[in-house]
């Protein structure tokens, strides 16, 4: 097992864009580490700050929020999510949690390369932080 595969990365996906995007990656048979766990949500705006902090406390190594960004069909949801992520970063700093363990990004239904890049970068960041 490679060090990347030993990580537990939570990938929060939206039903309307990044979850189908993850399917597109699969349909293209593009490969990534099995240390990744995709969770489907109507919209990540529903998850409170505590969800992220508690997940880290439980042992999740990294969380990638793959939002719909400005294509989000829910009015005002993305700005709220973005602000919430900012507050989570602030609390992570306060608690001494490496902020590179959380990433808010936008992934669409066909963003294959970006999907893989986000996973790769998150794994590299976590492993680098662990080694330091």
């Amino acid at each position: 097992m490679s060090p990347e595969d030993d990580l537990k990365i939570l990938i929060i996906t939206t039903m309307i864009s990044s979850y189908p995007g993850a399917n597109t990656v699969g349909q293209a048979r593009l490969q990534y580490s099995p240390g990744t766990f995709i969770v489907r949500v109507p919209d990540p705006v529903m998850l409170p700050e505590e969800f992220y902090l508690d997940s880290f406390a439980k042992g999740i190594d990294g969380i990638i929020i793959m939002s719909s960004g400005s294509d989000c069909p829910y009015e005002g949801a993305y700005p709220r999510l973005s602000k919430r992520a900012g507050r989570v970063y602030a609390r992570m700093k306060e608690q001494g949690i490496d902020t590179s363990r959380l990433k808010l990004t936008t992934i669409c239904t066909v963003c294959k390369a970006a999907f893989l890049k986000e996973i790769r970068e998150m794994q590299q960041n976590i492993l680098k932080a662990k080694a330091a």
Binding site: S17, G26, Q31, F37, I38, V45, Y74, E75
Partner: protein, 633 residues
Amino acid sequence: MTETNTSALEPSGDPVRVGVYVCHCGGNISDVIDTKAVAAALAAHPNVAVSNDYMFMCSDPGQALIIDDIKANHINRVVVAACSPTLHEITFRKALQRAGLNPYLFEYVNIREQASWVHKGDHEGATRKAVRLVAAGVEKVVRQDELFPIKVGVEPHVVVVGGGVAGMSAAVALAGRGLGVTLVEKGVALGGRVADLDRVYPTEERGADLVQDLTRQVEGHSRIDVRLGSEVVGLDGHVGKFAVTVRTSSAAPDDQDHLVRAGAVVIATGFDHYKPAQGEHGFGESPAVVTLPDFQAALRQCPASRRGLQVNGRPARSVAFIHCVGSRQIDGVHAPQADGKVNDYCSRTCCTATLHTIRQVQSRFPDVDVYDLHKDIRTYGRGHEAYYEDASRAGALFFRFPDEEPPTFAASTGGEYAGTVTTRDILTWGEELEIPVDLVVLATGMVPRDIASLIDLRKLPVGADRFLQEVHPKLRPVETGVAGILLAGACQGPMDINEACTAAQTAAVKAAILLANPTIELDPFVAVVDGERCDGCGKCLAECEYVGALTMADVEQAGATVRHAVVNPAMCVGCGACAAVCSPRAINVAGWTLDQFDAMVDAIIAEDVGALAHTECRAGVRHIEFAVISGGN
């Protein structure tokens, strides 16, 4: 007022018994993931009563396995680990329903697109991952409530906002399906921008004829009520039961507002032409620089004569057409629009419109020299490329300018021509060219029409390009985030007449499907308030963008009057913004509760599925059912 939701905890007394079914998908899954090992691992979960693997779970025998276990083994929750839920979620829900189980007591785990297909070189890793994902699915489903579709009474009537070709097409299609239609047009006549066009591509019909034909159909239909000189000033209610206030300013003061009850609303407000900034390619500084719509109007009025092409009383012997004016703008190269952003989108129609116009010039005034200056030629529609080929064969010269260096125009004083266009041409390896011209035609793109007041009525979603935004171009085209409000035509982005009418037909069909029965059944994934947990703080209200979806109300609870949040299920979109700020977790999206997500994370982290705690799910099933919403606002 609408009736509000009812939700109650109805302990069934039955233990939670989960059936887990792991699909091989032929070999799509089982060639990589050890499906037997996954099923065996899940059998150790304290809530799992049956755990099996099977060749094709979606097949009739596969579904029969589930149905038999529900009936014979008293399974009351089901997890299927298979392909993507977009393929078979409904298939399995229906199987549960056939077995007499609530179809929402089901969880679908994707171990094909998101496991076996993406971890082909690591069978062990893929299998370990599948175990964790299925365990997370089990943890979610044991906390799942019994849900029922939201039933909403229906008004078999549609308000169409905008009387252009898209609005008229939608109105005719809706009326043809037996629905009443109120067609609201701000102007004094139907037809919109197509009425201004001479010939339209690719059919070469006259715009006026198209409009006349549609107008005849609209005005001749007994189920269509046309309101000219009118606009929508109120839009209350929800899908199935909208209350739309239509204001006709020209009517008597006490008779201006007309209330229309409608089950759906189609927005077909169209677009505006981009107006170039002062000095953009010489626009506004020289009469020799005009926009494409202005040129088309001038061309229509210019008789074919020995005097040749005349525009604004001046001869046009040499004409340069410049593409992408107001479209595909680049930050730092083009001046930003009023909102501080450039129009970085492609207006899609202007390439063909320009070439179509060039062909008209060439056929009527063959002596005119035509120059076409473009970034690219995007003639994407069927038969559109022929305009490019024909224009080229007829002598038009094509120059391709760099994105960051648009052509410029300098007027001349006393020269033979009105001025000179200067451009760099990529096709001749960057050569700088000076083209003497009498006229410059700017192929201006489409910009969103200012419908801010309509948008504000229901907080309609607007995209980064400022056009109205559909939920998803492939999965849910022409639908907005507000159920029952649909989009038709160029209000959602640049498109030609053909596409606008296709979108209008799509919107009409979707509205007709919605309103086909006396009640609409909506997905139950909306916010639900647990009255016992709600402390009435009102934080959720501040998070909700949807007017009327969430309110605070005094309700009777255990003999006392308490104030807490109340959801109107027909108006809630289920985004969950409210849930994130509720500390006592009193408000949640049904089927997607925060407790479920926490439990899923616990399962992903757990090293041993058997060590996960047995859950009795609040000693039973929470039964969430909404009364039929029959009232309007």
